[in-house]
């Protein structure tokens, strides 16, 4: 398994689906481990009632059907499928509404979904998902990107309700972007990172507020990390391969 995860980290992020399916066929016995540890770009369906899009993941799936957060229906329809309790469903509806607004603010579009369910320890688990297509043919407002996607998956485990409740957040961001023009050619960055954050917060502030703030903080950290650290390191590498012009000019004899 360690070797499999090593391969996932080395293969080009753009080929993550091919990599995963290759690993699944080589290691069929490890399928459930692989599927739970590897994240793939998010898929989307349209709700049968409203036409609104919703995101597919393990947390709204049962067999081959997926539950929409808008209509609460399984697509395609499924008998005997699990649903959140009506109290939790109310919170889920509120979470989806608020998260939609949050996404409009930060993502200027994009598709979002929130799924909740009770876990075995009298706590709850919530999954917040965002998918943004920032390409110029998608929802990119400024037309810079030939291709650009951001997929975020946030899973929060909320401990049993006490005055101070424990929240464990695991977040994954996958992104890819490509700019393409005649003078500078194709420039393409892609990648994924995953981080965890645990906090103990007063339940009086409300689950949604607590979870929302954690997600916002985490997304800011991840975005910053990708920008400064990860992309920054690749830039540093390019400068190491070919020191920038000024340095070269200084060392050249008059030619």
């Amino acid at each position: 398994m360690e070797a499999a995860m090593g391969l996932m980290r080395r293969m080009p992020p753009r080929h993550s689906e091919t990599t995963l399916s290759a690993l699944l066929s080589l290691l069929p016995g490890h399928a459930s481990d692989l599927l739970s540890q590897v994240d793939l770009p998010l898929q989307v369906l349209s709700d049968v009632d409203s036409g609104k899009k919703f995101i597919l993941c393990e947390y709204n799936r049962d067999a081959d059907s997926y539950r929409s957060p808008w209509s609460n229906k399984y697509h395609p329809p499924l008998d005997d499928a699990p649903y959140p309790s009506s109290k939790l469903r109310q919170m889920e509806i509120e979470a989806n509404d608020i998260f939609t607004v949050y996404c409009e603010q930060y993502y200027e579009g994009g598709i979002s979904s929130v799924y909740m369910w009770e876990d075995d320890n009298e706590g709850l688990v919530a999954c917040f998902l965002v998918k943004k297509d920032g390409s110029k043919t998608g929802q990119g407002r400024r037309g810079y990107l030939e291709e650009g996607t951001w997929d975020a998956i946030h899973v929060i485990e909320v401990g049993p309700e006490e005055e101070i409740t424990r929240y464990c957040l695991t977040s994954t961001v996958m992104l890819s972007l490509t700019t393409d023009d005649v003078s500078s050619g194709t420039f393409s960055l892609s990648g994924s990172i995953r981080r965890q954050m645990n906090m103990n917060l007063p339940v009086a502030d409300g689950h949604l507020s607590n979870m929302g703030k954690m997600i916002e903080e985490m997304e800011a950290k991840l975005r910053n990390s990708l920008d400064q650290v990860y992309f920054g390191k690749t830039r540093e590498m390019v400068c190491n391969l070919r020191p920038p012009n000024e340095v070269v000019q200084m060392r050249l004899p008059t030619s």
């Binding site: 607004v101 050619g185 012009n245």
Partner: protein, 310 residues
């Protein structure tokens, strides 16, 4: 669990193994190989796949290997390939025999006359390479380069066309820092005797991989064209390298520009740093409202107010 009906055939496993090896990032094929062997658990299939995949990877990544005898580096490219494992080093007029899977030079021998260009061609090739080596020594501190004649190597004198390929390859491997990268440039130079012009076609490809607790890869490429007059060997060499230097400098500058834009503009297309209001999202306000869709509208109106007031 019942026996897996979809057990893979050796052929399929080999195909998958080859795919992993060929798609390994620059400088990482040996690490990929190690993990692959663990996952595959079948050394025979691995060895067969490696025998096919390694040469493809090595040639496409323009790897350079130390030559025995202290002669420097030799590039492994399709332009210098004489036979499956034999590669010409035009700089020292020698041929190396290579073990692709181990990525080492096994032996070296002098090149035969048939393997080398004619004196007329060699004059041009040598002059260009000498000028190129000077440029590359400064621009690519740890790289390697060479000039190959890919067409017309037996041309005796003026009156015929011929073709060279300039190959530049630089790789930096820092596995302990979880960072690897490569810069590859291939310049096709067509010497057109009829119109007394040299036509250049350049292709630069840059890659970088950073994978400390994550996996981020850069993949950038660019093609360009130019031309210059067909002159004597020394003048041609100077002119060509001058063009190469100019184009590659421009490309480097444009890469810097792309990175600069990234932080300020391009990344915003995916996710802003902050909302337009420049404040964090008002999560706490939502608890004051009741559980209806109007929440969204209220918030939006409230924020529009803030924007107008700001």
């Amino acid at each position: 669990m019942a026996e897996d009906e979809t057990e893979l055939s050796d052929q399929q496993k080999k195909g998958i193994a080859k795919w992993f090896l060929i798609n390994a990032p620059a400088g990482e094929i040996q690490y990929v190989a190690k993990d692959l062997k663990s996952v595959l658990k079948d050394d025979d299939v691995y060895n067969e796949a490696a025998a096919v995949a390694f040469p493809i990877y090595n040639k496409s990544h323009l790897i350079y290997l130390k030559m025995p005898g202290g002669y420097g580096d030799v590039l492994v490219t399709s332009y210098g390939e004489l036979q499956d494992n034999e590669y010409l080093d035009p700089k020292t007029a020698q041929v190396v025999i290579v073990d692709h899977v181990k990525q080492v030079c096994k032996r070296v021998r002098p090149a035969t006359d048939e393997e080398l260009p004619s004196p007329y061609i060699e004059e041009y090739r040598y002059a260009l390479e000498a000028e190129l080596l000077k440029y590359a020594a400064e621009a690519y501190p740890k790289g390697s380069c060479a000039v190959y004649c890919t067409n017309g190597k037996d041309v005796e004198g003026p009156g015929s066309d011929f073709e060279f390929v300039v190959v530049i390859s630089a790789a930096r491997n820092s596995p302990h820092n979880f960072c690897n990268g490569s810069w590859r440039a291939i310049w096709n130079i067509e010497f057109r005797d009829d119109i007394q012009v040299l036509e250049l076609k350049g292709k630069c490809q840059v890659g970088a991989h950073y994978f400390e607790e994550g996996n981020v890869q850069l993949d950038a490429k660019r093609e360009c064209r130019d031309s210059t007059m067909f002159q004597g060997p020394d003048d041609t060499a100077t002119a060509v390298v001058h063009l190469i230097r100019r184009h590659e400098n421009e490309y480097m500058a444009s890469l810097e520009g792309s990175y600069f834009d990234l932080s300020d503009n391009t990344f915003k297309e995916l996710r802003r740093k902050l909302p337009v209001t420049r404040t964090l999202f008002p999560w706490h306000n939502t608890l004051q409202f009741n559980l209806k869709r109007e929440i969204a509208e209220e918030l939006r109106i409230g924020e529009l107010h803030d924007i107008r007031r700001a």
